[in-house]
């Protein structure tokens, strides 16, 4: 265990040029979201009877879920396989997953025609065991709750014995204190059950997202239509887990002027070429077995997107991260992580949009400005909420020596304390 680092709330100015731009995009997204609710899907989107799913499903939901996989892969590595040295990255990864899934649900609600019925799958009278979407929905819902429970220890650490609500709310201080005390007392005993449940639930719905389009054999392009799609989705989600942690960690250290956790990041980057290699092997064997190579060389839109997905998003990061020297370079790590993230996101977009060919194409689909603004707004909002939470809660680890003495006292840090538990 690393005895020299501890997670503390970041002290930083919230508004910089970057966050102001993000804030503006978020407001535009919010307005577009409101427009969709008031005017309807028809007015706000370019969806139609031939293209019932657009970027809100392909990017906000399908890519969103995949890129939030850092949460369960890191939890598995640090908590289940007890690689304690990685604890410094579990909290940022958990927060990314928690916010990622929260925004997946917000994005999904925009796409649902009857969003007010979103709770229906919970009713046993409406359970539909044949539906892949039912399983995805249930798993995502339960997993989102699990993620919030996994986050509770961070809340306890930050606020137990320190609840100071302003003004008239102060009378509730003791109420919250007693809950935090209760959580503190029992969470430790149960948390591992939730951590394992989170990994199982993730494996289930990450793979099932890949089963979704298997119900449309005549519409999904042969480059992506395969019965092993669930396995490919699961493997790519596991592969992209650490790259998202690396990507986000490097960005955060830039933003908060910290030293990147290079030792940990280059260490988890070791796994990525292996995982991506297995994924690539499976993907290519699948193409071979289904005799789909002619579609790769077809010089069609689909072949272009497939090649981009494989060469830039899978092959390139394998080559980059195969070298130990490059794994110890922040620039190379960031490049490879970005490529992997882009590759997996592109794969989801390919499966749900590019490779989807309706029977009676009536002019295709390109997202409307409102669709793009909602998607961009959700991503901006996620980054802003993330930034706000790391200033309130102890998420990001810093070396103990770097913390000024008065701040150590304020956060209850002793020099002999270890990092996040």
């Amino acid at each position: 265990m690393n005895h020299h680092e501890v997670a503390i709330p970041m002290r930083t100015k919230f508004f910089t040029t970057g966050t102001k731009v993000l804030f503006g995009i978020m407001l535009l997204g919010l307005a577009s979201y409101a427009y969709r609710l008031i005017a309807g899907i028809g007015a706000a989107t370019n969806l139609n009877d031939q293209y019932p799913w657009g970027i809100w499903i392909a990017i906000d939901v399908a890519s969103g879920v995949a890129l939030a996989a850092g949460g369960f892969t890191t939890a598995a590595l640090a908590d289940i396989f007890h690689k304690e040295e990685y604890h410094a990255i579990t909290r940022p990864a958990l927060l990314t997953a928690m916010l990622g899934y929260t925004f997946v649900v917000i994005g999904l609600l925009a796409d649902l025609g009857r969003y007010y019925n979103v709770w229906h799958p919970m009713l046993p009278s409406m359970w539909q065991g044949n539906s892949v979407l039912f399983e995805v929905g249930m798993c995502v819902m339960v997993y989102l709750s699990v993620l919030y429970i996994e986050f509770l220890p961070v809340v306890v650490e930050r606020f137990r014995g320190r609840v100071r609500l302003p003004g008239p709310l102060a009378s509730l201080n003791r109420f919250f204190e007693s809950w935090l005390e209760l959580a503190h007392k029992y969470l430790g005993r149960f948390i591992s059950l939730f951590i394992i449940a989170g990994v199982v639930l993730s494996c289930l719905h990450q793979s099932s997202l890949g089963t979704l389009m298997v119900i449309a054999p005549t519409k999904l392009h042969p480059l992506w239509y395969t019965p092993i799609s669930p396995l490919l989705f699961l493997l790519s989600a596991i592969s992209v887990g650490f790259p998202t942690v690396i990507f986000e960690s490097i960005l955060a250290s830039r933003s908060f002027k910290l030293q990147p956790e290079l030792r940990i990041l280059s260490s988890i980057a070791r796994y990525t070429p292996i995982l991506l290699g297995v994924y690539l092997g499976l993907k290519l064997s699948d193409i071979t077995l289904r005799e789909a190579w002619p579609f790769v060389w077809a010089f069609s839109t689909e072949s272009f997107f497939w090649l981009a997905e494989i060469l830039l998003g899978v092959f390139a990061p394998i080559v980059i991260l195969a070298s130990a020297t490059r794994r110890h370079s922040v620039a190379w790590l960031f490049t490879a992580a970005s490529l992997t993230i882009g590759g997996v996101a592109l794969n989801r977009i390919n499966v749900f949009l590019i490779g989807y060919t309706p029977l009676y194409d009536n002019g295709g689909y390109f997202p409307s400005v409102f669709e793009i603004l909602v998607t961009a707004g959700l991503i901006s909002a996620l980054v802003l909420v993330y930034r706000w939470i790391v200033t309130v809660f102890p998420i990001i680890s810093v070396p103990i020596e770097s913390i000024p003495a008065h701040e150590r006292a304020a956060n209850g840090i002793r020099a002999d304390m270890s990092g996040a538990k």
Partner: protein, 302 residues
Amino acid sequence: MGLNRREFLGLAAVGSAALLTGQSLAKDTHAEPIDCAETYGVLVDTVACIGCRKCEAACNRAHKLADLPPSAFEDKTVFDRHRRPDAAAYTVVNRFEDPKDPARKFTIKVQCMHCLHPACASACIVGALTKNAQGPVEYDAWKCIGCRYCMVACPFQVPAYEYANALDPQVRKCTFCSERILTEGKLPACVEICPNEALTYGRRDELLAAAYSRIKAFPDRYVNHVYGEHEVGGTSWLYLAPVEFTNTELPVLTADVIPTTTETIQHGVFKSFVPPLALYGLLGLIMHSLRDGKEEEAEVKS
């Protein structure tokens, strides 16, 4: 974390029980084979069809669809392009020609095929779409959450959506006039009005027999293929045509039941809930044994 092995296993059991909430996933609920004697359908004879569009008008009236004057359904210029059913028209008639003899035109009425093993019903997250053993694939808007996965799943690209409706949008498709047939004892509106008996309502096995006897009686008029007999495992609506169906808008489909692959994967992963629970147990064991190892190491060091 102070947790001994017994406590851990006890808690693991509680956690596993919580996972069982999705029990119905594990149940093998593959669609029951449809009994042809019980299920009804419609035979569409595109040779007998005269393209009068009266079925479109009757459907529009029966379901109170788009507010159009009767004359709108007499306009034959609509045949210049191929239309699709949409939220305001559950059925449309399109015109095609014999590729060998372009002067020989024929018209095809399209609507929901009411599959025997509907992909839309298998896809639906809340069971809002169900196959009635009598024939109709029925939609319950009250259950629907509006995810439109049914539209992705349908191999005939039939379900349409009320995109213009902001608050209460519904999936819209031919209902097979199930309320008229099942509660009022009437024929579907389109069948009732058809002036040339191009549409025949009846038991599916009898319709198939009738179709083949027409093919046999007039082999020069019909191609020897009853569309919908085997396509996607069979549909309640069946078609006769003068030329190969590849010359029409009806898609080329094999006899494979569309939702079989997804249902097999789904039920395989959840077979009696064993695989998820096994994974849970395995991860629990790894977590526990590795933790013991670490603790021993720590003890040895101290």
